[in-house]
């Protein structure tokens, strides 16, 4: 398991090829990032994405 902000760093850097986003009932967003050649899938639940109160509520780094 990598650090909790690993996925959000990848999002900000554009370091991915595939991004899926689902809005959850509490208004937070479930984001999945996948990159070619990277043997990990980054899943994170983010509140107020790109906003002033942005917060990574959960993050999971799955090995492929």
């Amino acid at each position: 398991m990598k650090g909790k902000r690993e996925g959000i760093k990848k999002l900000y850097a554009g370091d991915f090829n595939y991004m899926a986003e689902e809005t959850l009932p509490d208004g937070s967003m479930l984001i999945t990032l996948v990159k070619e050649g990277d043997k990990h899938i980054y899943k994170m639940k983010v509140k107020d994405l790109y906003g002033k109160n942005e917060e990574v509520l959960e993050e999971e780094v799955k090995e492929l």
Binding site: Y12, G14, E21, M29, E36, Y50
Partner: protein, 180 residues
């Protein structure tokens, strides 16, 4: 190859920065050439002649090339009435080439009704609509001229239900492109 050195391989860069370049001839004779990158940034270029004499030369359109380089981007929004958000990193530009959406009424009571869904791409920083697609059950389009989102601009991919009913319409919107 640096003068005076006998070497069977050479790897290096040639950078030319000049107000004017009268004539520049480059001859490469090699059994194999891994990568030849030529970047020209000029206010005007009178003539560019490239002669290639090879058994095989692969020429790709930019989207294909982007996929070969691993810089392609795909964005999926799977929440009806919501969006996927992405801010283009500093120094990069996002080019969006395709936009598709699908939708269906998950309530069987509305199964035969028209289910109109729409996908919309908005540059949220400038609040300009870059692309739209929709129709009964969805739709798809490939843009001859890619939609362009500049660095540090937030791009949102919206998925909306425009049906005259709300029979629990579910769907997905997808956009693809590349970032350089």
């Amino acid at each position: 190859m640096p003068s005076g050195l006998e070497d069977y391989s050479y790897r290096g860069n040639v950078d030319i920065t000049a107000q004017t370049v009268g004539n520049l001839a480059v001859d490469i004779a090699a059994q194999t050439l891994a990568t030849l990158g030529i970047n020209i940034t000029a206010q005007s270029l009178a003539e560019l002649i490239i002669k290639i004499n090879a058994q095989a030369v692969g020429i790709y359109l930019q989207p294909e090339w982007a996929a070969l380089q691993g810089i392609q981007k795909t964005f999926l929004c799977s929440t009806m009435g919501s969006y996927t958000s992405y801010t283009v990193p500093k120094g990069k530009t996002l080019y969006i080439g395709t936009l598709t959406c699908v939708g269906l009424a998950t309530n069987s009571e509305y199964g035969t009704w028209e289910t109109l869904v729409e996908a919309k791409v908005i540059d949220w920083t400038t609040t300009t609509v870059l692309g739209l697609i929709g129709g009964e059950g969805g739709g798809g389009i490939s843009f001859p001229t890619p939609m362009k989102a500049l660095a540090e601009h937030e791009v949102r991919l919206y998925l909306m239900n425009n049906s005259a009913h709300n029979g629990n319409v579910a769907g997905e919107a997808l956009m693809t492109g590349y970032e350089i």
